[in-house]
């Protein structure tokens, strides 16, 4: 869908490149996560791919066509979901939607979308009266208005309660199942783990890792099993996963002791993020 080769970008008046020769691709029907600490170049990369930033070096191909040669009509194929609310606050939700919808060649079923995110009953309220969560959900509807082929989403569940975050994540997965492609920028490792087919970690404008969440967890994890059990007092033991079924000490524990916890050494995306980027998640 998008092929990025040796992409470089420097902001005017900046001394160094923000994006330093990155190359990757994401395929049709894939959810591709783009993760990294603040200032790593995630948003810049997304803005370049959505034609907001110009003057980059390297090549970006959209469906085999040079992005620079694609006119503004490309936005009939692309939906962009922003992290912050981007609505006209003194217009109602429906007036906002009507304005944007008519500027596109195709349009999605607005009633279905608004009902799905729970905003149909509030469609005639001014956006200024909406809560932050409602505005974020309206952002998501705005991104899907043109029935896009590719969705660029920036922190789509940020600021949502678990129930509404679940709805948005389900809609992202349904979008993928219907053949759509998603480029997801997020700090929420749990979302990335749950949604993404592949993820890339970007640090200081360079891509450090690209793989599926499962492969990354296997590569960065340890092939061990950690058992916590009671034997008078609570004890811990660690066993190599290879040949575990023949390990007498392990078998003795699970047969004869009271187990408290048992974990495999598979790591989490949170840990991989910290290892790869060198920064903690809250930084």
């Amino acid at each position: 869908m998008f092929q990025i080769s040796n992409l470089r970008f420097r902001y005017p008046r900046a001394k160094e490149d923000t994006i330093r020769g990155i190359s990757f691709e994401f395929r049709e029907g894939e959810i591709f996560g783009f993760l990294g600490p603040s200032g790593a170049g995630k948003s810049t990369t997304q803005k370049i791919m959505t034609k907001i930033l110009k003057g980059f070096e390297g090549q970006i191909l959209y469906r085999g066509r040079d992005l620079n040669a694609c006119g503004r009509e490309i936005f009939n194929d692309i939906g962009v979901g922003f992290e912050v609310p981007v609505h006209f606050s003194k217009l109602t939700a429906m007036e906002n939607i009507d304005f944007y919808k008519r500027l596109y060649r195709c349009s999605a079923d607005v009633e279905w979308l608004l009902k799905r995110v729970g905003l149909w009953d509030d469609r005639n309220k001014k956006v200024a009266e909406f809560s932050q969560g409602m505005k974020i959900r309206l952002n998501f509807v705005r991104a899907l208005l043109n029935d896009p082929k590719v969705l660029f989403l920036d922190e789509p569940t940020n600021g949502l309660d678990p129930k509404n975050a679940r709805i948005i994540k389900d809609m992202i997965l349904e979008f993928k199942q219907s053949g759509g492609t998603v480029f997801l920028t997020t700090h929420m490792m749990h979302d990335a783990d749950e949604l993404c087919d592949r993820i890339a970690f970007i640090v200081n404008g360079e891509i450090r890792e690209i793989d599926s969440p499962k492969n990354l967890k296997l590569r960065f994890g340890r092939r061990v099993v950690e058992v916590e059990y009671r034997d008078g007092e609570t004890k811990k033991a660690m066993f190599n996963m290879d040949g575990l079924g023949f390990n007498e000490q392990f078998l003795d524990i699970i047969r004869n002791k009271e187990l408290v916890t048992m974990h495999s050494g598979e790591t989490t995306l949170d840990d991989i993020f910290i290892k790869v980027t060198g920064v903690k998640l809250h930084e």
């Binding site: 902001y11 005017p12 948003s43 810049t44 803005k47 959505t50 907001i52 930033l53 110009k54 503004r72 009509e73 490309i74 936005f75 009939n76 692309i78 962009v80 922003f82 912050v84 609310p85 981007v86 609505h87 006209f88 606050s89 003194k90 217009l91 007036e95 304005f99 944007y100 008519r102 500027l103 596109y104 060649r105 705005r142």
Partner: protein
């Protein structure tokens, strides 16, 4: 429907919803009251001066307010990912401002004809308001590009008034009539706007009128090209970079 027309319709709706249209109409009513209480029987001389303030300063302000709201609410980000050209975006801003100026002109003309027996060349007046409002709305776009927020925009407008508008009013009222000042004023867009607006109401020198038309037409084109060129930088800045 054509995307420019859709954008224009959206602009007009937002101007109404955000109270910009109401404020503009309020100012137009103030002009009517000013004309009414001026006790002048022949308002042909002052009529263009009232329009001059409205089509120059108000055009800059209306565009500035509209774009400042877009910046404050981040809706500019949403506009940047639409299948519209920057020409459509910029022209829709100007067209909605021109509409507001034409509305004010209509209100003033109705009052002038009914209450004061105003005699002006209507076609000429509409043409003048259209051109002046378009040029100054584009200047408003350029001023807004360089303004961080609404306060900064008002500061720029204050400088604009001090340096460009007040000298023209002083010249019109014959308070300052030095030759060098008269020549210098040919470079001032507000002086040329006033000449164009005076022409349908009172006699102006043909040479001055010709200079004003050419000056404003060229300035309109140049300011549109400049607004177009600077748009990408503005888009980059407002997208949060």
């Amino acid at each position: 429907m054509n995307r420019l027309l859709l954008l224009y319709a959206g602009e007009v709706t937002r101007m109404r919803k955000y109270g910009i249209t109401l404020a503009s109409l309020g100012v137009a009513v103030l002009w009517v009251l000013l004309l009414h209480f001026s006790e002048l029987q022949d308002i042909s001389g002052i009529f263009p001066l009232v329009l001059f303030v409205d089509t120059t300063l108000m055009s800059v302000l209306l565009v500035g307010v509209s774009m400042t709201f877009e910046k404050q609410e981040n809706s500019i980000k949403s506009m940047l990912v639409l299948p519209i050209s920057k020409d459509d975006y910029l022209l829709s801003k100007s067209l909605s401002t021109v509409t507001s100026s034409i509305t004010t002109l209509l209100l003033l003309l109705v009052y002038g004809f009914l209450m004061k027996g105003l005699r002006v060349n209507i076609v000429g007046m509409f043409g003048a308001v259209l051109l002046v409002s378009f040029v100054f709305s584009q200047l408003g776009v350029l001023l807004t590009y360089s303004s961080k927020d609404f306060t900064s925009l008002l500061t720029s407008m204050f400088k604009f008034t001090l340096l460009l508008t007040i000298p023209t009013v002083l010249q019109f009222l014959k308070i300052f009539e030095a030759d060098w000042f008269g020549y210098l004023q040919y470079l001032n867009p507000t002086k040329n706007a006033l000449v164009l607006l005076l022409a349908p109401a009172i006699a102006v020198e043909a040479k001055d009128l010709l200079i004003a038309i050419i000056y404003l037409a060229v300035l309109g084109m140049l300011s549109f090209i400049a607004a177009r060129r600077a748009f990408d930088g503005y888009a980059m800045k407002e997208s949060g970079c």
